[in-house]
């Protein structure tokens, strides 16, 4: 049962092969027995899950069920869940019981989804390895000595270890696509503004976007059908009709024009990942696609620009954690400044503090033009590169990451080395474009991902392209040994 996709589970619920309560209980039992190995959950919400499953079974019996009714899944612990701890994997919010639901959470509740729990992540979504979590690193189910990627590492590990059939994630610089690639699952970062950010704890507001992490593209389409849509509570939410993301899955790819950016196949790219990526492109040629080389000349500048914009926005967003209204407060503050400084100094981990300080520095008097303004100018150059290429091709493809999963502890002492792992994913966030990662092979027993990039609001196209690839290949059905 645990290898079934959301689409297959929905069929099983509909035809009465099992109830949502049975399905949910089976997953809860499996989490209890297995998650010690992976540390993929921060909180398991057994009682609420069984109550939601019971309500779903009643809706199914009454004939009022929708496409998502009764399906279990997990939320990244960055989405506020009313009455349930929402920690963002930080000591700062270890005691934070959210008084309200994120819009994404409301949408899954309204769709009849069953939340199994809240998944592990890098603290405040700042990281590419899940090692900055206050609750300890999540482990990669393909090799538990390796990182699952990050920041949505717990979501990726939970899906890969079959501790949830699907999970939500968020992506600020690659935090859905990179862990999806490293754990051998499917991940989609939608267009900026497509999924509401309300109640999704803010890291870098002009880059953050929520999206699905699943076994298949078809499941990602089912998830996005629930998640997407305008929200008046999010000031950058886009007011635009939501299509049925499953509608175009079966369109043939004959005539699809694929662009391969030469900058994605240079320098530091692992040679075996390059081979797997090229092999995947060959599959698309067999499906009728044509391929041409394209250029995104400012790709290398995306990391420097990102490491100004994201920390600058983070330093502003995280100023709300002051030990006064909610979250961690230090013991016995002597005055207000001591209260602020010690609550924040003790409540935040090292990577979060580094990024807040970089941001505070970049925004401080005299430096704004040299850093933040400059980064915003480079951001436009990066977007214009994509716009030019996407006027010539339907989708852009390349590797999701330059390397497979690395060992836990391998890069923690060198933050800049860690940042370079996001070289292929970060530019999309700066441009606001949608992107997916789908499994396309393994290197030394560790999965690698193919990244598929499309134009604004081309999620249907991406899902169609990914689904056709998954009909032609079986990388996405492979599981780690012993799972």
């Amino acid at each position: 049962m645990f290898d079934k996709t959301l689409a297959e589970l929905a069929q099983g619920l509909k035809s009465g092969d099992f109830s949502s309560v049975e399905l949910t209980q089976a997953y809860l039992n499996r989490i209890k027995a297995e998650d010690e190995k992976y540390n993929s959950y921060i909180t398991v919400t057994e009682e609420q899950a069984l109550a939601q499953a019971k309500a779903a079974d009643e809706a199914i019996a009454a004939g009022t069920a929708g496409a998502f009714t009764g399906l279990p899944f997990a939320h990244k612990d960055i989405f506020c869940t009313q009455g349930v701890r929402t920690s963002c994997a930080s000591k700062m919010l270890d005691n934070f019981i959210s008084p309200y639901n994120a819009t994404v959470v409301e949408k899954f509740n309204a769709a009849g989804g069953v939340m199994l729990g809240k998944t592990n992540m890098d603290e405040f979504a700042m990281g590419s390895s899940n090692e900055s979590s206050f609750y300890g690193a999540a482990k990669n189910p393909w090799n538990t000595e390796c990182v699952p990627g990050g920041s949505s590492g717990g979501s990726a590990a939970a899906v890969a270890a079959q501790l949830a059939p699907a999970a939500t994630g968020t992506d600020t610089g690659g935090s859905i696509r990179q862990p999806a690639a490293l754990c051998g699952i499917t991940g989609l970062k939608p267009t900026y503004g497509r999924v509401s950010r309300f109640g999704m704890i803010a890291f870098a507001s002009s880059l953050d976007q929520g999206g699905p992490m699943t076994k298949t593209a078809e499941d990602a389409a089912m998830m996005l059908n629930v998640m997407a849509g305008f929200d008046k509570h999010d000031s950058t939410s886009v007011d635009r009709a939501v299509p049925d993301y499953t509608a175009d899955l079966n369109k043939p790819l004959d005539g699809l024009k694929i662009g391969l950016p030469k900058e994605f196949f240079m320098d530091d790219l692992d040679s075996e990942i390059a081979e797997r990526t090229q092999a995947a492109i060959k599959e698309f040629e067999k499906l009728g696609a044509t391929v041409k080389e394209v250029s995104l000349p400012n790709t290398a500048l995306s990391i420097p620009a990102y490491y100004i914009i994201a920390p600058a926005e983070a330093s502003s967003n995280l100023s709300r954690f002051d030990g006064v209204r909610y979250g961690y407060r230090c013991e016995n503050p002597v005055d207000l400044e001591d209260l602020y400084k010690r609550s924040r100094g003790e409540g935040f981990g090292a990577e979060v503090k580094r990024r807040i300080m970089i941001g505070a520095y970049a925004l401080s008097e005299g430096f704004y033009d040299a850093y933040y303004n400059k980064a915003q100018q480079i951001r436009r150059l990066i977007r214009d590169d994509f716009a030019k290429v996407l006027s010539e091709v339907d989708v852009i493809m390349g590797p999701t990451t330059p390397h497979p999963a690395f060992k836990i502890g391998e890069k923690t002492s060198d933050p800049v080395a860690m940042y370079m792992e996001d070289i292929f994913t970060i530019s999309l966030n700066l441009a606001g474009l949608p992107g997916m990662s789908v499994p396309c092979g393994t290197v030394n027993g560790l999965p690698t991902g193919l990244q598929i990039i499309g134009d604004y609001f081309a999620e249907q196209k991406l899902l169609n392209v990914a689904h056709q690839f998954q009909l032609a290949t079986d990388w996405h059905t492979q599981s780690p040994q012993g799972i």
Binding site: N95, I97, P99, Y192, G193, S206, S235, T236, V238, N298, A300, L301, I303, P304, A305, Y307, I308, S315, D322, G323, V324, R325, Y326, G327, R329, V334, D335, L336, L339, K341, R344, G345, F348, K353, R354, I356, M357, I358, G359, A360, Y361, S364, A370, Y371, N373, K374, A375, Q376, Q377, I378, R379, R380, L381, R383, P415, V416, Y419, L430, G432, Y456
Partner: protein, 95 residues
């Protein structure tokens, strides 16, 4: 770009972050490395490029000035570290 100990103290103060004495050298080193990385931007001529704040060049949406939320003070203060008579408590700021 190389930051020294006093730069780290100054930035940490701006960000209202307590940094432990023994951790300061490592922060100085890491922050300097990050600034070296971002300084790659300075090699690019962007004199004619408009800064981009939003990928779709959207502007701030406005709404009419109406009360839409109910008062949830009790629920919101139930998770506060220290509350008295409906007020958030902090150490004395006025002598």
């Amino acid at each position: 770009m190389s930051l020294d100990r006093s730069d780290v103290d100054k930035i940490a103060h701006l960000a209202r972050l307590q940094i432990e004495e023994q951790d300061a050298p490592e922060y100085a080193q890491n922050l300097s490395n990050i600034l070296d990385l971002v300084d790659q931007m300075q090699a690019v001529d962007t004199s004619d490029v408009l800064p981009m704040a939003h990928p779709l060049d959207a502007v701030q949406r406005l709404r009419s000035d109406e009360v839409t939320e109910a008062n949830k003070r009790d629920a919101l203060q139930a998770i506060a570290p220290q509350v008295e008579k409906g007020l958030f408590q902090v150490p004395k700021v006025i002598e």
